[in-house]
Amino acid sequence: MIASHEWLRAFVPHDLPPAEVGRLLGAHVGHARLDGGARADLAPFVVGQVVHSERIPETRLSFNRVDDGSGELLEVVCGAPNVEVGAKYPLARVGTVVPGKGGMTIERRKIRGFTSAGMLCSAMELGLGADHEGILALATDAAPGTPILDVLAAGDVRFEFDVLANRPTCCRSGGWPASSRPSPASRSSAPRSSAARRPLPGVVAEPRQATAAGVTVRIEDADGCPRYCAAVCAACASARAPTGSCQRLAGVGARSINNVVDATNYALHGLGQPMHAFDLARLGGSAIVVRRARDGERITTLDGHGAHVVARGARHRRRRARAGHRRRDGRRDSEVGEGTTDVLLEVAYFDPRRRARRRKLAGVSSDASYRFERGVDRVATLDLLRDAASLLVAVAGGTVDAVLDVGAAPGALPAVRLRAARVARVLGHRVADAEIERVLSSVASRSLATRASATRRGPRRYPRGGTT
């Protein structure tokens, strides 16, 4: 599990230095390794301010004088169309290795009679995203010569640690227990998109099979997948993701794909719920069937690493089926890409044990299997889908046409009984009732009922957890 300092700060605002956060995590969550600077390769880049710019005749190039804070102006030839006098851009001086250009080293060169002793960089050249149509304008007050790691979120610090088997909440950036938070007052909350949350349509809920907006979801393997929720989102514009979202995902080691897939990855890393977005048009249009695989059935995974033979009945998977019972295998060709407009967003609860077995048999481990195996929040499936669907239409436009909820939400959750007297006896240390309540509230989001006999009950949203 990788957590980003900046992302954690978005959930729980604070001013602690990364080393102190690492210490708190180590003391309360699990041993955390501080990955000093997620992007050490960007250390040599500085903020450059364009002071003078002129076009080089008969070319797309411009000749610029750039203030790099050294006191002397650098001469830089640039091919980007968006150079503006007064604006600030990432500057690579002579000798700097540019990560997005296959490790090219900047050298002093003569171009069309003009000297170039540096490079103004695009987001792609810095390895910060796919944007290479222009250089990356920096909205910053920082003086020329300031290292860009001080300006960009790429200067983020990563924490890397193993999530203990009884702490699945730690698989999401918003899931840290109260004890590891900087102050008792700070509460974890998911930062909402600035776009107004649009109203979502009513939910079509059925135990086995539901149809809405022309899409049918059917569960044939209710043991492996007790609940499958889906949102049909129409008229989305799949496009390159904004640089900010690329940086956020880069902070936890994920790569940006496009705005739709990035929204699902944001939910994966931020909310701890694996999600999947299908291109409805390429899905064949009609049905999602959740069932176990047949002996020897093959499937192509999304990473495209060829087909894996699926062992005996181990894998329950989604499959697509055309209306006329014509079935095709494979998920890869339903991936969201350029030209995608209608999206089916999936949020499901899969049985953790079955997922673990499936991973072993298939030999494929993923960010999703890591979380499903530890157990995702089985109460919140529908809420998470609604949040993710809102996020998706906020970044990609379009509308949510239907929300389907197939299967069963868990009934009454087993309660965890905790006696304050027992806590004191086992620990050998008296913990104030208010402190117990504070710590428990941070992992059980429902309010705790307190009984007269000092028995506390909290719902167990996750399949595992310690009991005392």
Partner: protein, 189 residues
């Protein structure tokens, strides 16, 4: 989610699996409590087996020393004090040690103890886990026929190889398994 991949012996042709090789010495807790009534204080050395790669910090078969104390009024404070005193005497009071949260199915709450080690490789001191520990889970006591409302207990499992590494600043656990005379001679006095 499994905590370790296990090793087991080949079974019969009838499809039965052979014996599972233990990944912890902790199963001895139940056997001890079935044989003796509290108060119980035992140290139990034994070999354990895990499907790990044989690398600088892991061995697929290694020794573990289990400690168990069960009595009335035994608490986590006792556990922490006992292990801190062990570290003070074993490392001579100059090493920094720390406790951190951990998880084991048979203790609740669980912790691990780390010790600071400097291998002199220029990377500076770093923390190395030397043992896992915790308060014996009430289910373990109940399974052994011990009243978990009356008795509480703590347990730890430490790896002598890891402890030797941390005490002597050894860079590689495999040195302890190779029987290289040049290495062994350094401990002859």
């Amino acid at each position: 989610m499994e905590m370790h991949d296990t090793l087991y012996l080949a079974g019969s042709d009838a499809g039965e699996r052979g014996p599972l090789l233990r990944t912890h010495t902790s199963p001895v807790q139940v056997r001890t409590l079935q044989a003796y009534r509290p108060p119980v204080r035992v140290l139990i050395p034994g070999n354990v087996y895990r499907r790990d790669f044989f690398d600088a910090t892991h061995a697929p078969a290694f020794a573990q020393i289990e400690g168990l104390a069960v009595d009335e009024g035994v608490s986590f404070v006792d556990l922490k004090a006992t292990l801190a005193e062990f570290a003070r005497r074993f490392y001579g009071g100059t090493r920094r040690v720390r406790f951190g949260p951990s998880y084991f199915p048979f203790t609740e709450p669980s912790a691990q103890m780390d010790v600071e080690v400097d291998l002199g490789d220029g990377r500076g001191p770093r923390w190395v886990e030397i043992l896992g520990c915790g308060m014996v889970h009430p289910n373990v006591l109940d399974a052994a026929g011990v009243d978990s409302e009356r008795y509480t207990g703590w347990a730890f499992g430490m790896g002598p190889a890891r402890i030797a590494m941390s005490r002597h600043d050894l860079p590689d656990i495999r040195l302890l398994y190779d029987s290289d005379v040049r290495f062994l001679e350094q401990f002859s006095k």
